[in-house]
């Protein structure tokens, strides 16, 4: 229901308002709204300013992160090939140092590589591929960058781009190659050692067997007394045995466990002596040039072994050059550091004598270069080479704590490099007298020890034939037991060196403690 006005006062107030006398009675005015609007504008201005500052800070953060990233990052318009962004790591990767921004691949790469990369990025834009590993990128300056690339499509301000990340794998790749080389060398060394051990072991046993055959043949020869045919047969046996012994002796040189006595020698001197001999034996077409740069040349070595190395290498070189050309022998000192040790796992740190023998011969093909140190490996015609030369050298070098390596280019030539550790010991000024003299003993009591029964038999016969009395053992322990009780009986002891349970040296020491005579 409508409510009539309540009394005169209410009516009077209303009338006053109608006349425009009320508190809120104003003509239409936008001032209040404008004021509010101005406040809002100011607020929004401050907000805009703050958001601008935040955006600026974000931008700076982005740029910092972008440029601090260790991977090269680019954002490329795939259609035009133009870069939108590219970070510092990327420009560093391709050595682009300029105040101008890097705009495209064309500025840093040869055309072909630039095109290849653009094509790869197009595939990444279409989602066809996501990763591209082990990419080889040639730089204009001739350098190479190995990179792993990952990329995907991105849309910035309605334009499609590719975001690509370049991870520089050059260092890692080089390390990988070095590792592989190292592993291959290690593998080769292990293989050589195994072959050496095998050959040495076989040779040792063969030597014993041949020693027995030859000894018995020689004894039998003495007893043939006019049987010419038998003498002839026995001489053939002895001749064959000598040939077999030569081979086993060479084989023994391959093994690393020979216990030769090394003494300080002058490497340069041995080279000089060997070259004199070589010049006399090699055909006139082969010349030898020696460059001695090594001032320190004292090595702890077996004179004959070193000589053999030089002779073998030069003979090989002459053959490789078809007996016409120059062999270069160079020597210098080399300080083996960690870098060199990484490349040659067998090298020890310190001063080394480095021997280089180079020729301009046919070279060695890559396929076989890893096998040249293997025994019986030869490229020569059947019957013209034993295939032992280089494996013997390898064995000798190894025994001297040295390292041998080969560098060869097929058709250009080959260089062998041999490292020998320099010895600080002083060389003997003059060769000592040859102590080896023929012992002639007769009418003596001799204790003979050898684990090879055949050799014991041969020894017995020889010694007895010389007029001695011989007591023999195949076991050093049994021999020792016997000697303990009868030490006064013997004038001399003849013992084999390599024997199971106790070697010759140990046995000899025991004897000397038991009997003063043997000291």
């Amino acid at each position: 229901m409508p409510q009539p006005f309540d009394g005169n006062s209410e009516k009077e107030i209303l009338r006053s308002k109608i006349m425009g006398m009320g508190d809120a009675s104003l003509k239409k005015s936008y001032y209040t709204q404008l004021q509010e609007h101005v406040i809002n504008l100011e607020k929004s201005r401050i907000e805009t300013e703050e958001s601008f500052k935040r955006a600026e800070a974000n931008k700076n953060l982005f740029i910092a992160l972008f440029n601090q990233a260790s991977d090269g990052i680019i954002v490329v318009d795939v259609d035009s090939g133009k870069f939108k962004f590219c970070n510092k790591a990327f420009t560093d990767m391709f050595d682009y140092h300029s105040d101008n921004p890097l705009l495209s691949f064309n500025l840093v790469l040869p055309i072909e590589d630039a095109e290849n990369l653009e094509n790869a990025l197009k595939k990444m834009a279409s989602g066809e591929i996501r990763f591209l590993n082990n990419v080889v990128i040639h730089k204009n300056d001739g350098g190479i960058v190995y990179a792993d690339i990952s990329g995907s499509a991105v849309e910035i301000e309605s334009i499609k781009y590719v975001l690509a990340v370049f991870r520089d794998m050059t260092g890692a790749r080089k390390l990988e190659i070095e590792k592989a080389e190292f592993a291959s060398k290690l593998n080769q060394a292990q293989k050589m050692e195994a072959i050496g051990t095998l050959a040495g072991g076989v040779a040792h046993d063969f030597n014993n067997i041949i020693g027995g055959i030859m000894g018995l043949a020689e004894i039998s020869l003495d007893e043939t007394q006019g049987n010419v045919e038998l003498q002839d047969n026995l001489n053939q046996i002895i001749k064959a045995c000598k040939r077999a012994r030569d081979i086993t002796t060479q084989l023994l040189a391959i093994t690393y466990k020979t216990e030769k006595k090394y003494e300080p020698v002058s490497f340069n001197e041995i080279i000089r002596d060997s070259v004199v001999l070589l010049k006399a034996t090699l055909p006139a077409g082969v010349s030898i040039r020696v460059t001695e740069s090594a001032k320190e040349d004292t090595v702890l070595a077996d004179h004959a072994g070193i000589s053999q190395i030089i002779m073998n290498l030069c003979t090989n070189s002459a053959h490789a050059m078809n007996y016409s050309g120059e062999i270069c022998i160079k020597t210098r000192n080399a300080d083996v550091d960690e870098c060199l040790m990484q490349k040659n796992p067998d090298l020890l740190p310190g001063q080394h004598f480095l021997l280089e023998v180079s020729d301009t011969g046919c070279g060695i093909s890559k396929e076989i270069v890893d096998r040249i140190f293997e025994p019986f490996f030869t490229t020569k015609e059947k019957g013209k080479g034993t295939g032992l030369g280089l494996s013997i050298i390898h064995g000798i070098v190894k025994n001297h704590g040295g390292v041998i390596s080969v560098y060869s280019e097929e058709g250009l030539g080959t260089t062998f490099r041999i490292f020998f550790p320099i010895s600080q010991q002083h060389r003997k000024m003059s060769e000592t007298e040859n102590l080896s003299e023929t012992l002639t003993a007769a009418d003596a009591d001799i204790l003979l020890v050898d684990d090879e029964e055949v050799l014991v038999k041969v020894g017995e016969k020889i010694l007895e034939k010389m007029g001695n009395r011989v007591v023999s053992f195949t076991s050093p322990l049994e021999a020792l037991a016997y000697f303990e009780n009868n030490c006064n009986t013997f004038d001399a002891v003849v013992t084999d060196m390599a024997m199971p349970k106790m070697n010759g040296l140990q046995l000899a020491k025991k004897f000397t403690t038991l009997e003063k005579k043997f000291r």
Binding site: M1, L14, R15, K17, I18, M19, M21, A24, S25, K27
Partner: protein, 388 residues
Amino acid sequence: MIEYSPISLRKFVAPEFLFGSEAISMLSRYIKNLGVKKILLVTDPGIVKAGWVSVVEKQIKDSGISHVLFSGISPNPRDDEVMIGSEIYQKESCDMIVAVGGGSPMDCAKGIGIVCINKKHISEFEGVDKIPLPGPPLVCIPTTSGTSADISQFSIILDSARKVKMAIVSKILVPDAALIDPVTLSTMDAKLTAETGMDALVHAFEAYVSNASSPITDLNALRAVELIRNNLVEMIKSGGKGEHADNMMLGSLLAGLAFSNASLGIVHAMAHALGGFLDLSHGECNAILLEHAVNYNYESIPGKYNDLAKAMGIDINGMTYTQIKNALTESIAELRYKSGIRHGFSALGLKKEEIPLLALYALSDACIVTNPREAAKSDIEELYAAAF
């Protein structure tokens, strides 16, 4: 009764207005000067049909501004129509309103403006000075010579649930500009010309005798009465064109300036009640009621009514108050009759038993406050009965 001296404190508020032929063609300049982006054009189907909307749309187009048309308005504009218009305004991101038509579109446009800025239902603004914030820029183009909503601080909106016409009164409702072009009157039919003309006469009468009147409003009111009395019938005869129409437009404007500042009285209070209850034509109700209201009010303020009698062309020399009152009511009745309004409320569907309720509504209308005579419910019931 309190007599007011000319130096009583008064306020006079009017919008910037352009009066005269071709005023309508100045619209594009107003739009440009306001620097707005999109206009809500508020009108009613009759104005669209009359062709004035396309004239206005051309002006808007010339200004290079887009607009959206809202013409879903009833003769007595309803609250839901205001809310729909406000939704369109906000949805279309408008920032200005142009109203073209009679009182209905203009009152509705005022309502739309305050609703979309204050974000409240239109009924929340019922009463005087209840609007916190002004609406967007509003330019009104009247096409009738009666309502004067284009310059007034009033907006009358039908509360469809309560069936009551809400009077929303505030200086904030005064439009930013009115483009008053008499040419627009040419499309009114005789009935509408009569009703709106009589409405303008009532505006002038009630403003002049209002207890909130002032010398400034009086000046406008009296001149308005003279112009209407001398031109209404001739204007109807001439089909809304020519000098009579021009004068009627001026009379309506002056009456508007008067009532917008001095407010109205018992006629409008009663007409609002009727209009809300029976959805009758506002001008027609006013026309039927005026002579009875004069008869009722005369004794409370005879001096002012005598001025009005003179303005109506009555020579009051030697006449007694009663003679003057009778002559005045007769002259009003004559003008009403000549205008073609010749019936009472029974002919419009009013039932006698509805009168007490209508009287209550009239007593709660803001316009009753400024009536020169304090009216009792029974007085109003008698007045409705007299006009039955």
